[in-house]
C-alpha cells in the first residue's frame, strides 16, 4: 500500500453513521426558490482572480475523481487515464506556477469493477486511490446479493473507495427505513473502503427528497454523499449541491461526524468548478476544501482547467491539443 492510501484511510476514519432517526428526516424543510436565489446571487458575491484563481483551480484538480464509466472501457484506456491522474498538468505549467514540488494528482480514478485491477496496478505508488462504482451501477436494480457481492469483489480487487447507488424507489415511496437498511448493508460490505453514496438526484423528483435521502445515507454511514451517476437526465447542479451540503452541515451539527461531498456529472468548465469550491467554502467551510472531503466526479473538467492554467501563465488562450489526453 502506498503512503497516501494509508493517510487517506487512517487519518480519515470512516463515518460511523448512527441509528435511524425518523424525526431527522421528517423535520427537513427545503424551500427551492430560496435555494435557487442563494445560488444565483453567490456568483456575484464571490469570485477569485489572478493567482487566487490559479491556486483554486489546482485545488479543483486535486479533488477530481478522474472518471471513465463506459461500456467500451479497456485496460489500455484505463491505463491512459491513470497516467493522466498521476500527471494532470504539464510540468512546464506547474513550474511556471511554482507548483512543481506539490505532487499534484487527481483525487482518485473512478472506474467500473472490471477495470479496478488495471487501475490499481497503473496507479501503484502514486497514492491515488481507485474508486469503483458498484451495486449494479447505474440503476442499482441487480439482486441485493449481487450488489453486495460486487462491493466485496471491488474491495478485494484493491478499490479503496466504493461509489454505491441507492435504490431510488425507496426515496420515491418515502420508505426511509428500508433505504437506511440498504445503505447500512452496503457500508458493512465496504469494510475499510470508503463509501460514496450516489443519490441520483435527477430522479428523486423534488429537492426535499434529495435532502431527506442525503440525511438517511449519512445516518447509514456514507463517507461521502454524491449527486449522480452521470447517467441521469440531470446530474449535479449547484442548487442540489447547496441542499446536500447543508444536510452535511446539519448532520455534523447533530452527530459531530463530517461527511464528504461529491458532485458528479455535468461539471466540465473551470468556472463552474470554482463556483462549486466557493459554495463549499461558504456553506461548509475550508475544512471541506480537500480531496478527503470533496470530489468532483468529472471526465472533461480537467482539460478546461489545464487550458485556463496555461492562459494564466502565458496570457494566451490555450488549445486542447497542447495538453496530454487522459
Amino acid at each position: 500500500m502506498s503512503e497516501t492510501k494509508e493517510i487517506l484511510i487512517n487519518s480519515y476514519p470512516r463515518v460511523e453513521g448512527c441509528d435511524f432517526q425518523a424525526s431527522w428526516v421528517d423535520e427537513i424543510r427545503i424551500n427551492k426558490s430560496a435555494v435557487d436565489r442563494r445560488i444565483s446571487s453567490l456568483g456575484g458575491r464571490r469570485t477569485v482572480k489572478k493567482q487566487w484563481q490559479a491556486a483554486w483551480l489546482l485545488k479543483a484538480i486535486s479533488c477530481i475523481d478522474l472518471t471513465t464509466l463506459s461500456g467500451d472501457d479497456t485496460p489500455g484506456r484505463v491505463k491512459r487515464l491513470c497516467a493522466k491522474a498521476r500527471n494532470p498538468v504539464r510540468p512546464d505549467i506547474l513550474e511556471a506556477l511554482g507548483f512543481e514540488n506539490m505532487k499534484l494528482t487527481t483525487g482518485a480514478v473512478c472506474v467500473y469493477h472490471e477495470m479496478v485491477e488495471t487501475a490499481v496496478a497503473a496507479l501503484k505508488g502514486s497514492g491515488i486511490p481507485v474508486a469503483a462504482v458498484s451495486t449494479g451501477f447505474p440503476a442499482g436494480l441487480a439482486p441485493l446479493e449481487t450488489r453486495l457481492a460486487e462491493i466485496r469483489a471491488s474491495v478485494a480487487a484493491g478499490a479503496e473507495e466504493i461509489d454505491i447507488v441507492i435504490s431510488r424507489r425507496y426515496v420515491l415511496t418515502g420508505d426511509w427505513r428500508t433505504l437506511y437498511d440498504e445503505v447500512r448493508a452496503y457500508r458493512e460490505a465496504c469494510g475499510e473502503a470508503h463509501m460514496k453514496s450516489i443519490l441520483a438526484t435527477g430522479q428523486l423528483g423534488s429537492i426535499t427528497k434529495v435532502a431527506k435521502a442525503s440525511m438517511v445515507c449519512m445516518m447509514a454511514g456514507a463517507d461521502f454523499i454524491k449527486t449522480s451517476t452521470g447517467m441521469e437526465g440531470v446530474n449535479a447542479t449547484l442548487p442540489v449541491s447547496l441542499v446536500m451540503i447543508r444536510m452535511i452541515r446539519e448532520f455534523y451539527a447533530k452527530t459531530g461526524q463530517k461527511v464528504g461531498y461529491k458532485p458528479a456529472g455535468g461539471i466540465s468548465t473551470a468556472k463552474l468548478a470554482l463556483q462549486y469550491l466557493m459554495l463549499i467554502k461558504e456553506e461548509l467551510g475550508d475544512e471541506w476544501l480537500s480531496p478527503h472531503m470533496f470530489r468532483f466526479g468529472a471526465s472533461s473538467l480537467l482539460g478546461d482547467i489545464e487550458r485556463q492554467l496555461e492562459h494564466f501563465v502565458t496570457g494566451r488562450y490555450s488549445a486542447a491539443n497542447r495538453h496530454s489526453m487522459g
Binding site: I30, S33, R45, T47, K50, W52
Partner: protein
C-alpha cells in the same frame, strides 16, 4: 501570497472592478456639473457654490455639482410646462419609442452606471450591477409599454402636467427610474431633484436623455440640498409631488402641499417584520435575512429589520445567523467579493451608531461578527440585536443601517400582532413551508408588500408602496400609472357643492309627528354627546326637523365603534354585495317618502328628486355589483414567482359629504367604501342631514353589521377636523370647501392618512364621474403578496 500558499489556505484575493473610465468621465466634468434644464446644461442662477460628492468607502473626492435655488427651480418648471403640451399630445407609440431608447441606453451603459453608482453611494458593485441597474432598465421597458398602451388601457385618463420629484440616496438610479419612467410614459414632464449625497448617476442619466433625443424640458434634473427640494414642493405650477425618503420629510411635504391641489405620493420609511415560523426552511430564511437587512448596508426603506421568530427555533436560527455573519465580507464596494460596502455618509454612520448605543443602554444585547471591517471610510459591521422588546428604541425607530433586531413569538396571531405593532407598513417577509399559514398571516399583516419565503423582490409590474405612515401611492404596475394621471373632466366648478341654509321663516314644524334624528353609532341610534340639536330647514325656510349637533366625542365614539367591528373588512365580497343589494331593496320601498323629503328639503322638482332617487338605488346596485368584481391581479414578474396584487380595504374611513344631491352623494361615497370592506364614519350633508338620518332606518333593516356605517351630524368643518386629527382613522374623503380640503390634508399629515378631497369643486353625481373604479381605487390599497414556487 504565492500560489502554493493560497492552495493551502484557499483564501479569497482582491477582485476589484475596473473604474478608470468612470473617473475619466468625472474628470471631464472637473469644472462641476451644471443643472439640466430645458435640454441644456445651465449655470445656477442662485448660487456659485457647488456641492462635493465623495466616495464614502474612501473619502475620495469624485465631483462637484450645482445648487439650484428658487429661480432655477422656477426655470425648470417653466421648461417642463413649455414641453408639456407637445409631449402629452404625442401618440403613445411616440413616447414609447423614447422610453424604449432610454431602456436600451441604460442597458448599453449598464456597467458604467453600476460603477458610478457604487463609487458615489458605497453599495457593493454586485448590487448595483446585478440588482439596481437591471431594475432601472426593466422599469423603462415596462413603462415604454404603458406609453404604448395608454390610449387603449387608460382612455379616460390624462396626464397631470409638471411633476416634481424628490428622491433619496439609497437607490439613486433606481428611485430615479421609479419616478421618471411612469411620469413621462403618462405624458407628464418632470423636474427631479436627486439626493445631495448621490446626484452623479442622475446627471449621467441626463446625458443619456440628450443622447436619446428626448425633447427639451421633458426631463429636468436640478441638484441641490433640502432647500432645492422645498422649492419644488412649494412651486405653484407643479401638479404633483412624488417623494421617496424619510417619514419626517414626507410629513412636511404633506403639510406644505395641503390645499394646493397637488397630487401626492409618498414612499417613506419602514420597520418591516421578517417572520420565521418553525416549519420554515431555516437555512433559506437565514440567507434571506442577508438579503433583507444586510442588502445595501441596511439602507433600504423596506429592509426586514425586525426578525420575529417562533420561540422554539429562536436559538437555532440566531446561531445560524451568527455563523453566516462570521463569513461576511465587508469592504471596498468595488470589490467583487464582498457582501457589504460602505454607509453612504459619515452623518448616517453617526446616526446608526447612536441608535445602536441607545438600544444597548436600554438593555439590548448587541452582537457583531469577528470579521474584517475597514478602519477608514464609512463602514459599519453587520449587527444582530437580541434581548429587546417592542419598547426598545432599536425596535421602534427606523435605523437605516445593517442592524437586525430579534424578538420571538408563540402563535401566528402573536406574530401578526408584533408585526403590526408599528406606525409603519411598508413591507414584510414570511417564512413557512405551509402555504396555509403563510397566506393566513399575509392577509393579517398591514403592509404594502408581503414576500413569502423571499425578501426584497422588486419588479416594475408589481406596485410598491406602503400602508400607514410608510406613505401612500404605488410605484410600478397599473396602479403606479394612475398616480401620474387624472380622470378627464372629473371636477366641475367651485360652485354647487355646498348649499347655504335659507333664512328661517316659520318656527313651526311642517311634520305631523315630531321626529328626532339622532346619530347612528355602532348600529344604534345614539343621542349626541353634547345634548344639543340643530334645526334643519326646508328649502323655503320652514323647520323640517332637528338633528343631533355632534361633537368630538361623538366622532370618537363612532371611530371606536368602527374599530371594534372589524368583521366587515374580512367578510366575503359576496356577503357584502348581498347587504348592499338589501339596502337598495329597502330603500326602494320608501321611494315616495324619500322623494318627498328631497323635494321638501332641497326644493327640486319631483321629477328631479325621482331621478336622484332612482340613481341612488342604481348606484347601490352598482357597488353591490362591484363588491365581488374589483378583483386584484396576478402579476408574473420575471422570476419564478407569482405576485398576488390584492385589493384590501383601507380600514376605517372618514367620509364627509357635500350638500348637493344629498341622498345620491351620500350613497355615492358610502357605498364604494363599504363595498370594498371599509368601515366608515360619515358626516352627511350639513345642510340636508335628514336624508342620512332617515337612511339609518334603512340600514337597521338591511343587515348592515354594527359599526360599518356610523353617521354623525353637525357642523361639517368642526367634525371634519376631529376626523382628520384622529390617528385611528386611515383615510378621509372630503367633499366640502376649498379651505376644508386644505385643513384635511394638513391635519392628515400626522398619521399620513390617505386623503381624497375636492378642493371645493363639485362633481356631477348623476354622470359617469359619480361612480366606478375611481372610487374603488380610493377605497382600497394594493398589497402585493409575492409567492415564489418550486419544489
Amino acid at each position: 501570497m504565492n500560489i502554493s500558499e493560497i492552495f493551502e489556505t484557499m483564501s479569497y484575493g482582491p477582485a476589484p472592478e475596473q473604474s478608470d473610465y468612470v473617473h475619466d468621465w468625472l474628470k471631464s466634468h472637473s469644472k462641476g456639473f451644471k443643472l439640466y434644464i430645458g435640454g441644456k446644461w445651465v449655470k445656477s442662477k442662485s448660487s456659485d457654490a457647488f456641492i462635493e460628492s465623495h466616495n464614502p468607502a474612501t473619502g475620495e473626492y469624485l465631483a462637484k455639482f450645482s445648487v439650484a435655488g428658487a429661480d432655477d427651480v422656477d426655470r425648470a418648471v417653466k421648461a417642463a410646462a413649455k414641453a408639456f403640451p407637445e409631449w402629452s399630445a404625442l401618440a403613445g407609440h411616440e413616447r414609447a419609442k423614447y422610453l424604449y431608447t432610454l431602456a436600451r441606453l441604460i442597458q448599453k451603459t449598464s456597467r458604467f452606471m453600476s460603477v458610478l453608482e457604487t463609487l458615489d453611494n458605497g453599495k457593493p458593485i454586485r448590487e448595483s450591477r446585478d440588482i439596481d441597474i437591471p431594475l432601472v432598465a426593466r422599469h423603462f421597458y415596462y413603462h415604454a409599454g404603458w406609453a404604448q398602451l395608454m390610449d387603449q388601457e387608460l382612455p379616460d385618463q390624462e396626464p397631470l402636467g409638471v411633476v416634481g420629484q424628490v428622491i433619496p440616496w439609497n437607490f439613486p438610479l433606481l428611485m430615479m427610474a421609479w419616478k421618471i419612467a411612469p411620469a413621462i410614459a403618462a405624458g407628464n414632464c418632470v423636474v427631479l431633484k436627486p439626493a445631495e449625497y448621490t446626484s452623479l448617476t442622475a446627471l449621467y442619466f441626463a446625458e443619456l436623455c440628450e443622447e436619446a433625443g428626448l425633447p427639451p424640458g421633458v426631463v429636468n434634473i436640478v441638484t441641490g440640498k433640502g432647500d432645492t427640494g422645498a422649492h419644488i414642493v412649494n412651486h405653484p405650477d407643479i401638479a404633483k409631488i412624488a417623494f421617496t425618503g424619510s417619514t419626517g420629510v414626507g410629513r412636511y411635504i404633506r403639510e406644505a402641499t395641503a390645499g394646493s391641489g397637488k397630487k401626492l405620493t409618498l414612499e417613506l420609511g419602514g420597520k418591516s417584520p421578517y417572520i420565521v415560523f418553525e416549519d420554515a426552511d431555516i437555512d433559506g430564511a437565514v440567507e434571506g435575512l442577508v438579503d433583507a437587512i444586510w442588502f445595501n448596508q441596511g439602507q433600504v426603506c423596506c429592509a426586514g429589520s425586525r426578525l420575529l421568530v417562533e420561540e422554539g427555533i429562536a436559538d437555532r436560527l440566531i446561531e445560524k445567523v451568527k455563523v453566516r455573519l462570521n463569513k461576511f465580507r465587508v469592504g471596498d464596494p468595488l470589490d467583487k467579493t464582498i457582501d457589504m460596502g460602505a454607509i453612504v455618509d459619515p452623518i448616517q454612520l453617526e446616526r446608526i451608531t447612536t441608535l445602536v448605543n441607545k438600544g444597548a443602554d436600554e438593555g439590548a444585547e448587541v452582537w457583531q461578527p469577528d470579521v474584517d471591517c475597514p478602519t477608514t471610510g464609512c463602514f459599519y459591521p453587520p449587527t444582530l440585536i437580541t434581548n429587546v422588546t417592542p419598547s426598545n428604541i432599536v425596535v421602534r425607530e427606523e435605523i437605516f443601517g445593517p442592524v437586525l433586531t430579534v424578538m420571538t413569538f408563540r402563535t401566528l396571531q402573536e406574530a401578526a400582532d408584533l408585526a403590526n405593532n408599528t406606525r409603519f407598513g411598508l413591507a414584510s417577509s414570511v417564512w413557512s413551508e405551509n402555504i396555509n399559514r403563510a397566506l393566513e398571516i399575509a392577509a393579517m399583516i398591514k403592509a404594502g408588500v408581503v414576500w413569502v419565503n423571499s425578501t426584497n423582490q422588486f419588479d416594475a409590474a408589481c406596485g410598491f408602496g406602503g400602508y400607514r405612515e410608510s406613505g401612500f401611492g404605488r410605484e410600478g404596475g397599473k396602479e403606479g400609472m394612475y398616480e401620474y394621471l387624472k380622470p378627464i373632466g372629473e371636477w366641475q366648478s367651485q360652485d354647487g357643492n355646498l348649499v347655504e341654509s335659507p333664512k328661517a321663516n316659520d318656527r313651526s314644524s311642517h311634520k305631523h309627528i315630531d321626529r328626532t334624528a339622532k346619530n347612528y353609532v355602532g348600529g344604534k341610534q345614539a343621542r349626541p354627546d353634547g345634548g344639543n340639536t340643530r334645526v334643519v330647514l326646508t328649502h323655503d325656510g320652514k323647520v323640517a326637523g332637528r338633528v343631533g349637533d355632534g361633537n368630538r366625542k361623538d366622532i370618537r365614539n363612532a371611530v371606536e365603534a368602527a374599530f371594534k367591528n372589524p368583521g366587515w373588512s374580512s367578510a366575503t365580497a359576496h356577503n357584502r354585495a348581498q347587504v348592499i343589494y338589501y339596502i337598495a331593496e329597502n330603500l326602494s320601498y320608501r321611494e315616495n317618502e324619500v322623494v318627498a323629503q328631497l323635494v321638501s328639503l332641497t326644493g327640486v322638482s319631483k321629477k328631479a328628486a325621482k331621478a336622484e332617487f332612482d340613481m341612488s338605488v342604481s348606484r347601490l346596485f352598482s357597488y353591490a355589483a362591484w363588491a365581488d368584481k374589483y378583483d386584484g391581479m396576478v402579476h408574473t414578474p420575471p422570476v419564478k414567482n407569482v405576485a398576488l396584487a390584492v385589493h384590501e380595504p383601507i380600514g376605517i374611513m372618514g367620509i364627509v359629504c357635500p350638500d348637493v344631491m344629498p341622498l345620491l352623494s351620500f350613497i355615492s361615497l358610502v357605498a364604494p367604501a363599504i363595498a370594498m370592506g371599509n368601515r366608515t364614519v360619515v358626516i352627511p350633508s350639513e345642510r340636508y342631514p335628514l336624508l342620512a338620518t332617515d337612511f339609518y332606518q334603512i340600514l337597521e333593516t338591511s343587515d348592515v353589521p354594527a359599526g360599518v356605517i356610523n353617521i354623525v351630524t353637525g357642523d361639517r368643518e368642526i367634525l371634519t377636523e376631529v376626523l382628520a386629527k384622529h390617528d385611528q382613522l386611515e383615510a378621509i374623503w372630503y367633499h366640502g370647501s376649498a379651505e376644508g380640503s386644505r385643513m384635511v390634508e394638513k391635519e392628515s399629515a400626522a398619521n399620513l392618512k390617505r386623503t381624497w378631497v375636492n378642493d371645493g369643486h363639485s362633481r356631477d353625481w348623476m354622470s359617469a364621474h359619480g361612480e366606478g373604479r375611481r372610487f374603488l381605487r380610493e377605497a382600497t390599497q394594493v398589497k402585493n403578496i409575492w409567492l415564489p414556487y418550486g419544489d
